[in-house]
Amino acid sequence: MRTLRAEWTKLRTVRGWVVALLAAAAAIIGLGVLPGMQGTCDATCRLPVGPDGTEVTDVLYFVHKPLTGDGSLTVRLDALTGILPSAPDQQPDPTGGGPQHADGDGGRPGLVPWAKTGILIKDGTRSGSSYAALMLTGTHGVRMQYDFTNDIAGPAGGGPRWLRLTRAGGTVTGEVSADGTTWTKVAGVTPSNLPATAEIGVFATSPQYTEAVAGALGLHGASGGPTSATGAYEQVTLTGTSASGWRGDQIGGGGDRAGTSTQDGDRITVTGSGDIAPAVAGPAGLGVTITQTLAGTFAGLILVVVVATMFVTAEYRRGIMRTTMSAQPRRGRILAAKAVVIGGVVFAVGLVAAATVVTLGQRMLESSGVYVHSASLAVRLQVIVGTAAVLAVAAVLALGLGAVIRRSAAAVTTAIVAIVLPYLLAMTVLPDTAAQWMLRITPAAALAVQQSTPEYAQVSNLYTPVGGYFPLSPLGGFLVLCGWTALVLAIAGVLLRRRDA
């Protein structure tokens, strides 16, 4: 306790260190609120939300009838075809703005992996309403999906096949068949909010085509364009209490990409563009996440790492470590006290900076017309407290390196190379695979705490670190940093005891 107080007095009585720590906070806040991005979203630009509050994409063409109570729709899917943009245009879209519209060219035939057509039962035609769907996809086989975030894989492969969706009470069951007689169950699911009378029918939709573009210095960009998918059905058979006549509707506003359908007896062809899935930020989606506001973390991290390293190496350089050790001969306690003090102070500074920049930064982005995905209080706390904790533990790691290396220049360099450089490289020049590895094994893995939206397997997107997607979970990434820190502190503790002062 006495040693703790002494170290606290030491830290706060060197003006340069205090200024540097405040500058770290200022850098995190300043770079986060700096007007950089421009977007075209105004106050009316909002994504629909799904039954659980998740922001969703709900854009598709739906040929439907109301079905009251239990019932079943059986169809034979003749073909799933689609149209891709004729040539990927070479304009990266770093602002994360809305999907780019094709220039009205014809496009080329083809399917994106998550092009979808199949049977849908839905709580009306309102965007974001509860649903269950059995579908064939471009390359992911048959899937049973419901309420946007849930995805269950069925049999793989394409070709003509039979699909059946049966409602019994609150449960919706999907089945597939190759011949219309032998059926295989895909899944039985319970959408959260299916009313007594739900809309049932066939749908088609196809998400935007996106591919990474390696620019100068390997900087990532993305290009793409809208696509469409067409499902051709025959022997469309509905059982249960229903009205007569199929009605085609574009759900979720398609603009000039609105879908179409044709009917001929029990044959229906439906063409649509869009997606029915959770909305994602990034090249394939709309806008950014609150993670974007913490882009200045690296600058704060550099300053924090320098101060934390100097907090111990400056004592070696001046010979003060001997005074410190004569005042507290139990050297492990010196290291512990220094770690608690620098960790605690940096945590407090980081907490204020992160809370400020997430709040202010989001407002700045929104006032510049950039759509910022909503984040729950829990996610905000994870991002803010997590960022503060990462800065604090990184400071302790730098302190440990300082105690091991003892020389200021060498220790600061090592700390920067070990902690900050992997993060900067992963965010800029490194190819994606290397970046992912950097963010798995180096202390920079801990930046995963800043991920504010989940990565969905059923949505094609460029899930890159710079877009706010990290390879490890927030806790997993943080533990990687803690592991490194524990290791370095243990080495420092042993050396401190063993070496002459």
Binding site: R2, R5, T9, T13, R318, G319, R322, M325, S326
Partner: protein, 247 residues
């Protein structure tokens, strides 16, 4: 008070301490005299638990320094007056030391007064002359009101006024019953104030005796401490010329 017994320590191939043994008694100024590289500073670092000796013990009232709680209240030390963070004020330097021993801020002001730092205490230590740093070092050593003091070359860099002050001050400290160990490579500094001297060379104590005894020649006349020292350390100087210095 302080008992050093058979210390042996090696830095690489150089034998820094080779059976260093001596004692420091309460109420006396003990001069710790020897050429640079004789092992004075190393001995002090070993007493303070900073360096580890391969053999031997250094005990303060029977206890190893490393086992002391609030050690600055038992032993005050000044090893390197320049060991200061330049941007920290003298007062803040003393404050963190006081905090480390659980001493009140009032004690900081007392030692600032005792050491004659005065208003300079609120200035950054980086701008201090060596003499001022020595006074700050003395203030730091006295912070815990310790019964024993280890001072390594405290006269270095002091102006004549400071040297006179320091001499009087050391006598006062011993007069208060403290054990004071003062090292120097200059004889005249200690001739008039030391009660006893320990003369070291080649990492061991060559002589340990009251100053008066050492100054007395076999034929009964009184020689300077310097002359006694030169005679006793002749071998050590030869050794130094061959082996180079150990800091």
């Amino acid at each position: 008070m302080i008992v050093v017994n058979g210390l042996r320590k090696r830095f690489g191939r150089t034998l820094a301490l080779d059976g260093m043994s001596f004692g420091v008694a309460a109420g006396q100024v003990t001069g710790f005299i020897g050429p640079n590289g004789a092992g004075k500073s190393t001995t002090m670092r070993v007493i303070l638990g900073l360096d580890r000796a391969e053999e031997g013990t250094a005990l303060i009232d029977g206890q190893a320094y490393r086992s002391l709680r609030r050690p600055l209240t038992r032993v005050g030390s000044l090893l390197d007056a320049s060991a200061l963070q330049p941007s920290r004020t003298a007062r803040n330097h003393l404050r963190w030391l006081a905090d480390s021993q659980g001493l009140p801020a009032r004690r900081v002001d007392e030692v600032i007064e005792l050491s004659g730092l005065g208003s300079a205490a609120r200035r950054r230590a980086g701008g201090f002359s060596l003499g001022m740093r020595q006074r700050l070092g003395i203030a730091a050593a006295l912070l815990g009101d310790p019964a024993a003091l280890l001072l390594d070359e405290p006269f270095n860099g002091m102006d004549p006024e400071g040297i006179i002050w320091m001499r009087g001050f050391l006598r006062t400290l011993a007069g208060q019953g403290r054990a004071v160990l003062v090292s120097s490579h200059l004889m005249n500094e200690l001739q008039d104030i030391a009660d006893r001297v320990v003369i070291v060379g080649r990492g061991r104590a060559i002589a340990e005796a009251p100053v008066a005894d050492l100054r007395r020649t076999p034929d009964g006349s009184v020689r300077s401490l310097e002359a006694a020292y030169l005679e006793l350390t002749r071998d050590a100087v030869d050794y130094r010329a061959h082996s180079g210095e150990v800091a």
